[in-house]
């Protein structure tokens, strides 16, 4: 059957996240971006909504089952409020969800309750590398089995909350395969840059460069245990989160531009009454809807265990990156000169909008 309506439970979650996004994240977004600081209380409040908790089974401290479809709904809604804030709230999922998806039973028992049951704490993951042709399936950071341990070497970039992280799930290249390794706080050879990354956007989110110089972890810290895991579903879940976040940011830009266009008068009419502006808005809305459905379908495929789920997630994320750029660019355009001024959020949406092409790995559903 085809159906395009979130179920009741999903709708309740979306409503709760939407309230937080609108009432808490958005009002704080500008100040957070300018001061490069997200209030801890703000993150804590988002965490308490329980997105991750609701997608973790009771056995591991949560109260539900993971669903990629529910995940993309929640991420879109959260990112609609503010991308940096959304990523911050959801950072622990970068660590927990791959363990839930691909971890050994032992790893689930050991880590999940610790992450899920308490307050928000910085558990994180390191995927991105600082190279123009960064490819999650061909990492430069390596893992080698030496003397019954894995030895990690390389450098990771844009790692959220790495400085204070309790543990980092580090992705490395093991014989050509991307594999995750759980690296605990303070591991020998692990060095987090003191200075935060400076990017075009996401300035409120503390991101760090992380060096791994012969970091040794036991075989049991390989995600999935000795046998390892399939990275495909993890990457696909990251791509879905990226697509969903792009939808949220794009929708924020469209909404702001739409409201502005209905107020702003030029040549005696509201600018929204000019086709040149109205058509931009119509196309923005159309593209958002197109990518939303592509993202939903990919998420549904993942939940239903369809063979082409990963390929669909890739298409959704690729399409979402273009869509977000197109929509957020126009968001600025609709505001004219005022769009260029940082008092309005559309320029930040535009900077965030560009990020989706290269920032897969900062969130996961």
């Amino acid at each position: 059957m085809y159906s395009f309506e979130p179920n009741e439970e999903q709708q309740m979650l979306v409503d709760a996240v939407g309230k937080y996004a609108t009432n808490d994240l958005r009002p704080a977004a500008h100040e957070a971006e300018e001061s490069r600081e997200l209030p801890k209380k703000l993150i804590g409040k988002g965490w308490e909504i329980g997105i991750l908790q609701a997608s973790t089974p009771e056995a591991y401290g949560g109260f539900g089952e993971r669903s990629a479809a529910t995940g993309v709904l929640a991420v879109e809604e959260m990112a609609f409020g503010d991308l940096a804030g959304a990523y911050a709230v959801m950072t622990p999922a970068l660590f927990a969800t791959p363990i839930l998806l691909a971890g050994s039973e032992e790893q689930k028992q050991q880590y999940l309750p610790e992450v899920i049951e308490g307050d928000w704490r910085p558990f994180t993951a390191a995927l991105i590398e600082y190279a123009f042709d960064f490819d999650a399936n061909a990492l430069r950071t390596t893992a080698k089995l030496e003397g019954g341990e894995y030895v990690l070497d390389g450098e990771k970039a844009f790692v959220p909350f790495a400085k204070d992280a309790e543990a980092i799930l580090v992705y490395a290249n093991l014989d050509g395969q991307t594999q995750g390794f759980i690296v605990p706080k303070g591991a020998a050879g692990l060095a987090v840059n003191d200075e935060r990354e400076k990017l075009m956007g996401l300035n409120a989110l503390p991101l760090y460069r992380v060096k791994l110089d012969g970091v040794k972890v036991p075989v049991s810290n390989r995600l999935g245990g000795e046998a390892g895991h399939d990275f495909g579903p993890i990457l696909a879940s990251m791509q879905l989160a990226s697509a969903a976040a792009a939808l949220g940011v794009a929708r924020a830009s469209l909404e702001y531009a739409t409201n502005y266009a209905k107020e702003r008068v030029a040549f005696g009419v509201k600018i929204a009454q000019k086709q040149a502006v109205a058509f931009m808005l119509a196309e923005m809305a159309t593209e958002i809807e197109a990518i939303r459905l592509l993202t939903w379908e990919a998420a549904w495929k993942m939940d239903a265990g369809k063979e082409d789920a990963a390929a669909s997630a890739y298409l959704a994320a690729t399409g979402a990156a273009d869509m977000a750029m197109m929509v957020t660019d126009r968001g600025v355009q609709v505001l004219g000169g005022h769009g260029y001024i940082r008092e309005h959020p559309v320029e930040m949406f535009m900077r965030n909008g560009r990020g989706f092409a290269m920032l897969t790995g900062l969130a996961i559903v």
């Binding site: 979130p6 266009a261 459905l293 239903a304 690729t318």
Partner: protein
């Protein structure tokens, strides 16, 4: 309800069947009927009529009102979804042929949307009879295309005979010839003519009239020669003192100071726009698949999953085309799913048409470019699909008109606030 994308079984089965039809009855003769405009593919028409009847359908492409079997759980209706999927697959075969698939077509859709239950019963029954039967929709005039409120065709009630007397000229009538001309091979069809019963009332005065095939005073003036969809006849029809029975008016015969008459037309568009979008997407999918096939034959693999800056430009193009075609199709599905579930879908319906208009033209144009001389050659059907595709962005509301509808919806504007 929940979010779900599993194609219902009836749709999957139907697609398999129609794929065979496309492969065997459409593709092999596509070129022939493109190069011999205005010849009629009798075989296809006859076959489709028989096939649709034997499949338990109405003998035409109209959404069915499902009657749940006694004692079975009522399933959610999928009539429009099934129809959209049928159309997409037929258009994948040949969109010109699809347009002359026997059945109610846009004329039937108008009766469906604006007619009373009695009128539906009376006018739609013919499509499941022995002979293939057609109906067409006549809105456009030389002076009234996008601006349908400018139509000049008039209908006046002759009080003495209780007949409507219609005068005017309609252009660009798809399947106008097959619906109106009394071919021996076809059943008696009809055309639905939009006319004003009160020109001073503007849109409120507009009504649709069912005009039976062969009605005196009505004439097929000419058949257009076109860029594409050449298997589909596009007729100019003149009406001079054409008389139709009183009961052939769809909707209320009196003019209140409301826009109910025009709402009938708009309701028709909400229902048919996603279907037209579906027909475009069929063409786009055909082009995309052909490109991938030819590339594969030439040893070019599309490497999915690579970062863009590691891909070739052909890989990027093909992946983009795939994203376009897939997402456009999902928009159609959502719009028809809403129609099936009686949700108001004016926004989604027009959005799906905007998207399909863009996607269908872009994808076919890019496909020809990618394949270079092979794309441009008439040895293959790709160049034909390029020509066929363009109509998607024109009829059933141009891309611009549908953008207006979308914009009005999201801005909460009326037609006068954004024109």
């Amino acid at each position: 309800m929940t979010i779900e994308f599993e194609a219902p079984k009836p749709i999957v089965q139907m697609q398999t069947v129609l794929q065979t039809v496309a492969d065997n009855m459409m593709r092999p003769v596509s070129r022939e009927f493109d190069e011999n405009e205005h010849t009629i593919p009798w075989n296809y028409i006859e076959f489709m009529h028989t096939a649709m009847k034997s499949m338990g359908g109405s003998g035409g492409l109209t959404p069915r009102d499902e009657k749940p079997k006694e004692g079975t759980e009522k399933r959610p209706p999928i009539g429009y979804q099934l129809l959209a999927a049928q159309i997409e697959m037929l258009a994948w075969g040949d969109v010109g042929f699809y347009l002359i698939t026997p059945g109610g077509g846009l004329g039937g859709a108008a009766v469906q949307a604006a007619g009373s239950p009695e009128q539906r019963a009376k006018f739609l029954a013919r499509f499941s009879e022995d002979k293939p039967t057609f109906a067409a929709m006549c809105m456009t005039e030389a002076g009234a295309g996008s601006d349908t409120s400018a139509i000049r065709t008039k209908a006046v009630l002759d009080e003495a005979t209780q007949e409507w007397v219609i005068n005017g000229e309609k252009i660009f009538v798809t399947a106008g010839d097959k619906s109106f001309t009394e071919y021996e091979q076809f059943g008696k069809g009809f055309i639905v003519v939009w006319a004003s019963i009160d020109p001073s009332a503007g849109r409120a005065g507009m009504r649709a009239f069912v005009v039976e095939a062969g009605t005196p005073g009505v004439k097929i003036v000419k058949l257009e020669h076109k860029l594409g969809i050449r298997a589909s006849d596009t007729a100019v029809i003149s009406l001079v003192d054409a008389r139709v029975p009183y009961d052939n008016v769809l909707g209320s015969p009196t003019v209140e100071k409301t826009t109910t008459g025009f709402k009938g037309a708009m309701a028709t568009f909400d229902a048919t726009r996603p279907l037209v979008a579906a027909s475009g997407i069929g063409v786009a999918r055909a082009a995309l698949e052909f490109v991938k096939e030819k590339l594969a034959e030439n040893g070019v693999q599309i490497r999915y999953g690579l970062p863009r800056n590691k891909q070739t430009s052909v890989e990027r193009d093909v992946i983009e085309m795939e994203i376009m075609v897939k997402s456009a199709w999902l928009m159609v599905l959502k719009a028809v799913w809403m129609a099936d579930n009686k949700k108001s879908n004016a926004l989604e319906s027009s959005m799906s048409k905007v998207k399909a208009g863009d996607v269908t033209t872009k994808v076919t144009q890019k496909a020809v470019e990618i394949l270079g001389p092979l794309g441009y050659s008439r040895e293959f059907l790709l160049e034909k699909w390029f020509r066929d595709a363009k109509i998607t962005d024109i009829y059933e509301g141009t891309g611009q008109i549908n953008r207006l509808v979308v914009a009005r919806q999201i801005l909460g504007y009326s037609g006068s606030e954004l024109r």
